[in-house]
């Protein structure tokens, strides 16, 4: 197994390399110069612009920068953010926590609600509950999440004044450790809800169809013929088998979740990586952009790997062969 994991990681390397290279090519092609943002709003003498350019290595040809960057990358150095004046790794490190927190909360909400809805819909197939769950899933799938986020703010933070509108915790907060975590919870509700709606919809749909597929499977009939109670049939056979496609869909959507968080983090002032990415794009902060794209790709690669491992853990057919 460890060999397999190593192999997968090794296989992902060219992909990550491609991410870096494409990013560099995009930068080469793109109009707009980060130096213009660095020298400030007032007329700058040409020598100064040149100096800044040289300072950040922007005067070298792209190919050379690419090689330099890759060399640094191989040593684990993600580079230096000129817009933030700190190392990219440190910067991303500081922003990962909130993003993961938001992502995982949204993921848990999406899985719990989505899978439950899917099961309810599949069990009551063709009935009212199914219909409502299906329509709900479709609506959830169709509402733009950033828009939903704004509506939620107006409704719950402004009109009803029930929940905070933005941020991770009160700016005045002095809480640490567990207290800080607990304090964050009310702040998490709205963004996590907005972020999860789409995935609730997605997961409930996939759960429903997976359940229906398994419910029609021969071995479910066999299980019923054994006199198993409906609950046991559902738990031991149907849900377990249906979990295979569900796990796959969940795993392959982890990457999307990070991307989706860019919008939600902006709407809710959530200090995560998603927003950092958006900021770095507008500031032409290339090292940060590359770093984040790399991070996102790596997340996707890891998520896919974990998905495959989870799949293998669930499905003996994948694990062994005769």
């Amino acid at each position: 197994m460890w060999f397999y994991i190593l192999k997968r990681v090794a296989q992902a390397l060219p992909l990550l390399l491609a991410v870096v290279v494409v990013n560099f090519v995009l930068i080469q092609l793109a109009p707009g110069d980060p130096v213009t943002l660095l020298v400030g709003d007032f007329p700058a003498p040409e020598e100064y612009v040149k100096q800044v350019r040289a300072e950040y290595g922007l005067d070298r040809p792209v190919a050379e920068r690419l090689v330099l960057y890759l060399g640094q990358l191989a040593r684990g150095n993600l580079g230096y953010s000129f817009a933030n004046r700190m190392s990219v790794a440190e910067l991303i490190g500081k922003r990962i926590g909130p993003t993961l927190q938001l992502m995982f909360t949204a993921l848990v909400i999406a899985i719990v609600i989505g899978v439950t809805l899917g099961v309810v819909a599949a069990r009551g197939r063709g009935k009212l509950a199914d219909w409502i769950a299906q329509i709900g899933a479709l609506v959830g799938y169709s509402v733009p999440d950033f828009w939903l986020g704004q509506v939620l703010i107006i409704l719950f933070a402004v009109t009803l004044a029930l929940l905070p509108s933005q941020g991770m915790r009160s700016a005045r907060s002095v809480a640490t450790g567990l207290d800080a975590f607990l304090e964050t919870l009310p702040y998490l509700i709205l963004p996590a809800t907005a972020l999860s709606v789409r995935f609730i919809a997605l997961f409930s749909r996939i759960t429903r169809s997976a359940m229906l597929e398994v419910l029609n499977a021969d071995f479910v009939l066999a299980a019923r013929a054994k006199g198993l109670s409906e609950g046991r049939v559902l738990l031991a056979h149907v849900l377990r088998n249906a979990s295979l496609p569900i796990v796959t869909v969940i795993g392959y959507n982890l990457g999307l979740l990070i991307a989706g968080s860019a919008l939600i983090e902006t709407v809710f002032s959530w200090p995560g990586v998603g927003r950092l990415m958006f900021d770095s794009i507008t500031k032409r902060d290339y090292p940060v952009m590359t770093g984040i794209l790399l991070f996102v790709s790596l997340t996707v690669v890891i998520a896919n790997l974990l998905t495959d491992l989870a799949y293998a853990a669930l499905d003996p057919r994948v694990r062994y062969t005769r």
């Binding site: 300072e55 500081k94 922003r95 926590g97 941020g167 640490t176 507008t282």
Partner: protein
Amino acid sequence: MSRFNRLVLFLVLASVLMLIAVACAPAPTPAPTAAPPTAAPKPTDAPKPTTAPVATAAPKPTDAPKPTEAPKPTVAPTAAPKPTDAPKAAEPTRGGIAVIAIDSDPETLNLGLTTGYSSGDVASKIFNGLVWLDGNYQPQPQLAESWTVSADGKVYTFKLRSGVTWHDGKPFTSADVKYSYDEILLKLHPRTRTLAPRLDSVAAPDAQTVVFTLKDAYAPFMIQQTVFDAPILPKHVYDGQGDVTKNPANVKPIGTGPFKFVEWNKGATIKLARYDNYFEKGKPYLDGIVFQIIPQGANRSTALETGEVDFVVDFYLPKTDVKRLEANAKLTAKRGQGAPAIDFMMMNTRTKALSTAEARQAVAQAIDRKRVVDQSMNGIARAARGPFGDGFKWLLTPDVDYAKMYPLDVAKAKAALDKAGVTAGTDGMRGKLRLVYDSARPQFVAAAQIIKENLKDLGFDVDLQALERSVLIQKVFLDWEYDLTLQSFVSSGDPSIGYHRLYITTPTKAQFTNQTGYTNPKVDELLAKAATAPDVKARAAAYAEAQVILAKDLPSLVLFDEEGVDFASKKLSGVWAGIDSRDRWDLVWMPK
């Protein structure tokens, strides 16, 4: 162990690790607390001004500021003057943490490297300038105790305050001032480095004295000595530590100001705590300040209303929310604070249709500037009067008034265009114009739509190009690939600092300068004169002459003057001591 079990183990471990990462990462380090310092200064001690400021003896609020009347030797008081709008003279008390909203992570907290607005917001509490500017643009002593100016206006001698310490305990001396200028400000500060060609030398004859020698007199020199333009940085932290721009102190600053840096949660908050050894004894009053980063304008307004935030500077507030916030009983609004700023439209004279003054005048005549103010600024602005707006009352001239010169009149504008040779085709159209603006500026997004509509009536098909800032800089200032562009300039306290670049002949393709292709030696000469003239009358005369020319030639059409509105929670007292509301937070306090 079977493969399966190992797999399960691995998955469990992986998820546990993830959870730990989640739980740990956002945990903040302790914030500045209300723990009282061991020797708490008596709050009643300091704020009493001992002497009235001499140099600014006659500042009538309506008067034009006279920054160039400094040649007279000036002795400033040791203590700050009373805040002009201190509420009901209540005695300031200590304690409390104020929350200020900003829009994004500052790029750096080293104000010597940037004019970035959020950088200034945070770092102005940590650092000091030699002086600060009061509500009438009058320089008041900060790190400098007093100063004298030679008769020819070329030599400025500053006497520094004694007993000032850096946040790390090291003493502050003239060496810090000289170092800040020589190695950082004149080289790296985007605005102050424009001073370099005017400056002969910076000398520190003794530990408490700094002498600046200019090549020529320069009117706004004192205005540029504030913390925003000339923050004094610690030599011992930067000197010999390699590249200044990459010094770790840029994100963990050590200053002389009322608050010291505590922690920076990227994307979330920056926390400052009271510096107990601040040179103005008893100040600051607040225990700390937290800057909360809220990227969306609407969210900043909301946070003000919900009380999550105590103070937001005009710059960060959507104009659409201003009227609602002004009606909020929990908030104090302050209009017209800050340096004048104008929003304008550059017209590229290299574009054939815009190459003549007549054509540009026609364009001016077709644009509904009142609607621009009403709809793009929600009415929180003043339709422009002339080439320098109306923010500096002393330079206004009755000869120039856009409202009279270019009233909205499409028919007349069309006729003028026909006369200027910009004729319409059979379809009534006169061609295509590219209007370039910053997609992140809501007022331009709206104004562009109105201008597109207006110019369509004139027969121009306007192609809107909402660009992201760095692309915009490339297109407008470096490549000249535009016909019209919407921009805004801040005066920074004097027209010669902020506005001249809009009209003078700029030799290089420098950003945020005149790139319309308009060159007029006469204007260049007049504006140079206005910058160096010894008294305000002479300056006003030069500006008047220049304005008549510019209002006619119209390389850029000023659309409106911004009218800043800051908002503070009623929980705060003592805000708005300085002209820049980000300054002098050592005077702010929270009534119990």
